[in-house]
Symmetry: C2
Subunit: 336 residues, 2 copies
């Protein structure tokens, strides 16, 4: 975390850090990073949350005192603009929900990830905050994702698609159809709804924001990561099989380096918790300093571009209009 | 379809074909393929199902007379061992269900696909027959997938995993947990249950059979296909950017050819409909002769290795035991 923060600080010299952790671990490392030390305030915490702790257990034992809780609380008290953690995802979400609470009218938060596409980058949510989502929640995710796209990509009216399968007249997934009908019939400012997209549209970058519920989103993300690793493995094996291939590899090394750079999962590290009264970013636990730096860069961008206000405004305006026009019953009748 | 059948016939010279279609289209092509013509019986059909027809509409208009119906019916009457079609998936499934009916005790059929992995190949189901599946259906899919793995890979006791997300204590997906509990507590002959797997396990080949419901399976499949295309695009762009890279590409061409061959989606073409009283294989509509040939090769393997009997035996033995021991209520109480 600390070397990652130091890298990000070089790119964003105005960032100030509030660090929470065990002093016996943090301070010796911080001493080797004088620029980061000068930009940081450190608070010792006795309790830290283990990666294998269940969210409920983490909340019981770590509330009010653990480094994870303190990090999230710093956003609540206004001491920090964004919280960044590479810890236990479930515990972090539980603490963030408990400490920051969901925004008015938002029932469930989502985790939004950045997906590299052939056209640049898209935002995909939910990639694993909760399982299942009703039509109202999918509409909320659409607005929150669009707000994040406006903050991150600087696009006025990001395109949004609902993830679906290309099979007609199938039973189930009524919530996706319901959400689609609603988005089609109720144009929302700052969001251009483009209909259904399928799994292969993710990599194509067909839309700026792809909306789905957390189970499918998480499986899609991990499947894409797995496929990329699988192909990288094939490529490595193929390039070392004959001396001609090895020679070719050496000649084309700069091209392979560019390819590796393009496929580098560290560059899109950072899941953004959306729908809470504060921004929390989850870095991949298994990444390195470069990956952490990318998550902190993302945190800086989200804070500087006013993500939270954009999400709040979208949701408020939208729900106000809903209350005035009263078509809520059309979205998810079973929940009202 | 016809050049594909001709290629497969060279590899399986004992195959006999019963062809259904429009004579003005089929016969001129068949005349150019004398070996296939000699191995085939042709039946003219006036009606053909369009790719954009809704399943219910296709069934209404194409039942008893369309080429698609006749193809499936040939399996029912015993004239053919397997039906192969590259047509409209939804229509084919609707006709297959109507004509062949689901096996006793099977509520819903599944489509099983072959997934290339770093260790070889796995079977993934359901990749889009129906959306959603309860615990009982997931257990049925596990048995049907294992039976197909026995028939296709010749493994005595294929390993089976349930697709899940690595998030603890999340709401929803109770049916996956329920199915897991059942598979753990009730050892099934010819199937080695290995617990939950995640999206990145698909490409790793962690288990021989990955079980999930049709929405997630379809999204995962298309996401993997999309990611593979995306990386192939990056690779092509990188290898043509500088003359050094182009020279390297030429030297390593045989390695790149092997890679392309390994990633060739045509080699794993063919979705197998499981749970019906007959084998139907769906070829990708957008494939070429090589892809069709792979789907027909798969059909030959499934027929020769007695897939249907293996699935029937597994299901019968299992459901008999369930009836005797009576733990059905433990699987899916809400459906009983």
């Amino acid at each position: 975390m600390l070397p990652g923060a130091a890298i990000s600080l070089q790119r964003h010299p105005r960032t100030r850090f509030v660090l929470y952790g065990d002093e016996s671990v943090v301070l010796p490392v911080l001493d080797t990073l004088p620029a980061l030390k000068a930009a940081s305030t450190f608070h010792h915490c006795d309790v830290s949350i283990r990666m294998d702790e269940r969210p409920s257990q983490a909340l019981r034992q770590g509330r009010y005192k653990s480094s994870m809780w303190k990090t999230v609380e710093a956003v609540k008290t206004g001491e920090a603009h964004v919280a960044v953690s590479a810890g236990n995802t479930g515990a972090l979400m539980a603490m963030a929900k408990f400490c920051l609470r969901t925004m008015a009218k938002v029932e469930r938060p989502a985790i939004a990830g950045i997906w590299p596409t052939v056209r640049g980058e898209s935002i995909v949510l939910d990639i694993g905050a909760t399982i299942g989502a009703d039509a109202q929640q999918l509409v909320d995710f659409s607005m929150m994702g669009a707000a994040m796209a406006r903050a991150l990509f600087g696009i006025e009216e990001p395109t949004v698609g609902l993830l679906n399968v290309g099979v007609e007249e199938v039973k189930g997934q009524d919530e996706v159809k319901e959400a689609a009908r609603f988005l089609k019939e109720n144009p929302i400012a700052g969001l251009s709804y483009r209909g259904f997209v399928e799994g292969d549209d993710l990599g194509k970058g067909t839309v700026d924001v792809v909306v789905t519920e957390g189970f499918t989103g998480n499986v899609a993300l991990k499947t894409a990561e797995g496929t990329a690793k699988q192909i990288a493995g094939y490529l490595r094996a193929a390039m070392s099989q004959t001396w001609m291939a090895r020679l070719g590899y050496i000649l084309a090394k700069s091209a392979f380096d560019r390819l590796r750079d393009k496929m580098d999962p560290r560059k899109v590290n950072g899941g953004v918790f959306l729908g809470l009264n504060g921004i929390v970013i989850k870095s991949h636990g298994g990444t390195d300093a470069e990956g952490v730096a990318a998550a902190i860069d993302l945190a800086c961008a989200m804070a500087e571009n006013g993500l939270l206000g954009k999400v709040e405004d979208s949701l408020r305006l939208f729900h106000e209009r809903l209350t005035t026009n009263g078509p809520t019953a059309a979205i998810a009748p079973e929940t009202i």
